[in-house]
């Protein structure tokens, strides 16, 4: 589905992404792990077109999207849950969700699945996004990304601030989404157990490079947990 080839990225003078290459296949959950500040978020931003790639190539569904603007990537079918929630604080919860449908024609209804997954959002439809509690905002951000039915879902630490029961729900939901075979999922996660239980394949980043990769089932055996500690 998504192919990244020799991607490089700089901030000012410092080299943040160093020749990354990987695939995110359809129907699978790919998890990306790495310590703080290794460049995970930077990678996702590059994939979303928020920062221009210095060199390398990104293809999605066969099309080269390396230089495409963000909204074109969404129209192509990429949904994004950013780190830090990034909800629209002065739009209501409902409007925030409707924003998730920006790439769909006007009048497209919100899929009920969102509310099944996050019942609290239904109660809060009229409240402004910025007034929600941190965890509620995180749920909203996930709901928003799911609203238009993406073919690739990119999540940056989606469990941050969410209560355990809902993390379990999210886990189930992601699994079932992947299992339909119609969605590819790229998950950045610090929470090892969560990552491991979902991963079909995993990638570990270190200083802008992928230093380990493999089957999700082999994560423990490969010593990923140890690799993440100092």
């Amino acid at each position: 589905m998504l192919t990244v080839d020799n991607l490089n990225q700089y901030y000012g003078g410092s080299h943040i992404l160093r020749g990354l290459s990987f695939d995110v296949p359809l129907g699978k959950v790919t998890t990306l792990l790495g310590r703080n500040g290794v460049g995970k978020t930077t990678l996702l931003k590059t994939l979303m077109g928020l920062v221009p790639a210095a060199s390398g190539k990104v293809t999605f569904g066969g099309a080269d999207i390396t230089r495409a603007p963000s909204h074109a990537r969404v129209h192509a079918g990429i949904g994004f849950v950013p780190q830090g929630r990034e909800i629209f604080p002065r739009l209501t919860v409902e409007e925030n969700l409707l924003m998730g449908l920006a790439s769909r024609p006007r009048g497209t209804p919100l899929p009920a699945r969102i509310f099944d997954m996050f019942p609290v959002l239904r109660q809060m439809l009229g409240r402004r996004g910025g007034d929600l509690s941190g965890g509620q905002q995180q749920q909203l951000a996930i709901g928003r990304a799911l609203a238009f039915g993406p073919r690739l879902l990119i999540l940056d630490e989606p469990t941050e601030g969410i209560q355990p029961s809902i993390i379990k729900d999210i886990e189930r939901a992601i699994r079932s989404l992947a299992e339909t075979g119609e969605m590819a999922i790229l998950l950045v996660e610090q929470y090892y157990d969560f990552a491991r239980s979902l991963a079909d394949q995993y990638l570990v980043m270190e200083r802008g490079e992928i230093v380990m990769r493999g089957e999700g089932a082999n994560m423990d055996a490969d010593g990923v947990r140890e690799a993440l500690s100092v």
């Binding site: 990034e86 604080p89 409707l98 924003m99 920006a102 910025g130 990304a145």
Partner: protein, 536 residues
Amino acid sequence: MRLPLPRLLCACALVLAFLVAPARAALDEASLAGLAGDFQSRLDTIEALGVAGGEDARRVLDALEAGALGVAGGRAVIVQGESVVAAANGEALALAASAVETLTVNNRVRRALGTARAALALASADRGERLAAARTLADNAGQSLLPLFERALANEADDEIRGVLARAAARVNLSSADPAQRLKAARALGESSDPAVKALLAALLEKQGDVWVEPNGEVRAAADMAIHAIDRRIATAETVGTLFSGLSLGSILLLAALGLAITYGVMGVINMAHGELLMVGAYATFLVQGLFRSYLPAYVDWYVAAAIPAAFLAAALVGVAMERLVLRHLYGRPLESLLATWGLSLVLIQGARVVFGPQNVELANPAWMSGGIELAAGVVLPWNRIVIVGFAVFVLLLIWLMMQKTRLGMFVRAVTQNRAMAGCVGVPTARVDTLAFAIGSGVAGLGGLALSQIANVGPAMGSGYIVDAFMVVVLGGVGQLAGAVWAALGLGIVAKFLEGWAGAVIAKILVLVFIIVFIQKRPQGIFALKGRFADS
């Protein structure tokens, strides 16, 4: 009533002529003799012509109005091209046109002419003409007109006209020698709402030395009651008038600010060139007026309607150019947008100066926007202001539809709140920006169109509104359309009530102080954004 002798004579002659001669007779030379006399006797003669009536009188008045009436050798004559005819009967005279001293028509003469024409029109078959005539005469009511009123009253069937005439007669009768007449007059005048009438009545209640001007106590009592009745009516009318003034000022502030409420309030561009977008709209209106005058003179009254799309588009196009060329590079740097748009405004003002000249250009109110509805004597709601209040509502509705009924409004807000994230949910942010700025600019253009009907249209017109516009948007609460509406109306009405009480300069100062104090109480404007995100 102390009248100078010639006036008295004239009046007598007049009354006599009126009573003796039926209205149809041709004018005799004597009745025009006054035209050769001093200024005052000219005026009297002119007024008398109206009272006398008849075709010949009309002809003389027409000639006067056209500047063709003159005197030659002590005789009233009319210049017709190169030839000269006697004014009284139209017979040709052997006189050169250059020998005639034509009468200057100045205001005073024009007033006499107006009275004369009204006197003529009192016999018109058309009700509207009679009513207007009666009103004109009532304002100038003098002893000399009393017989005319009485005759007209005798023939008049229409109640409204009768009322006007009766009050006019009463005004004259207030100085009648007969106490019964005066009492009747004082009572009749209680129906009026005209401050002039009040002044007449009040004069009766004064004392000269120890003596009352009005000796009769009963008449004084009636006058007193009448004054109270008039006062009440005037007070109500004035309050309504002031409220309307406030509403009108508010709607103008609103129209000046609405575009800014979008470009600044919603999009966050500190647009110092907003005033110049108003100017673009106003000049577009001016150009449309020019086109109508040249090509559709018959429909020139409708140029304002045709200017609505023109003003919108012209300003929107300028807005698009501004956005594409400059502002696009400045999103998220609101303070830089201040600097750039300040530069843009200099350029636009000077551009207008070079193209249209530094002077103001002339924009005429169409006939249907001229004049006004008279609520009471002295309180007039001008049509152009009424139309503009309506127009403000229309523009508001337009914006509301645009922001609420299309997704654009939501996209614009989302883009301003979080540009990057808006892109990441699929909003083409660049296009939304351009479109929104174009709409905001277009709305400013509509504001300019409205302003052109009230105030100056010139290169610097915009700079006069920019401060007010920002105050309205900010006072309402940035990004809150409804807030802008309340702020504009509130400021308008407060300003007008203060102005009536303290004068324009102090009122303006007080309004500004009011804004400063108000924001202390509501540091985020009327429609404050509450909530946790507001300050973190």
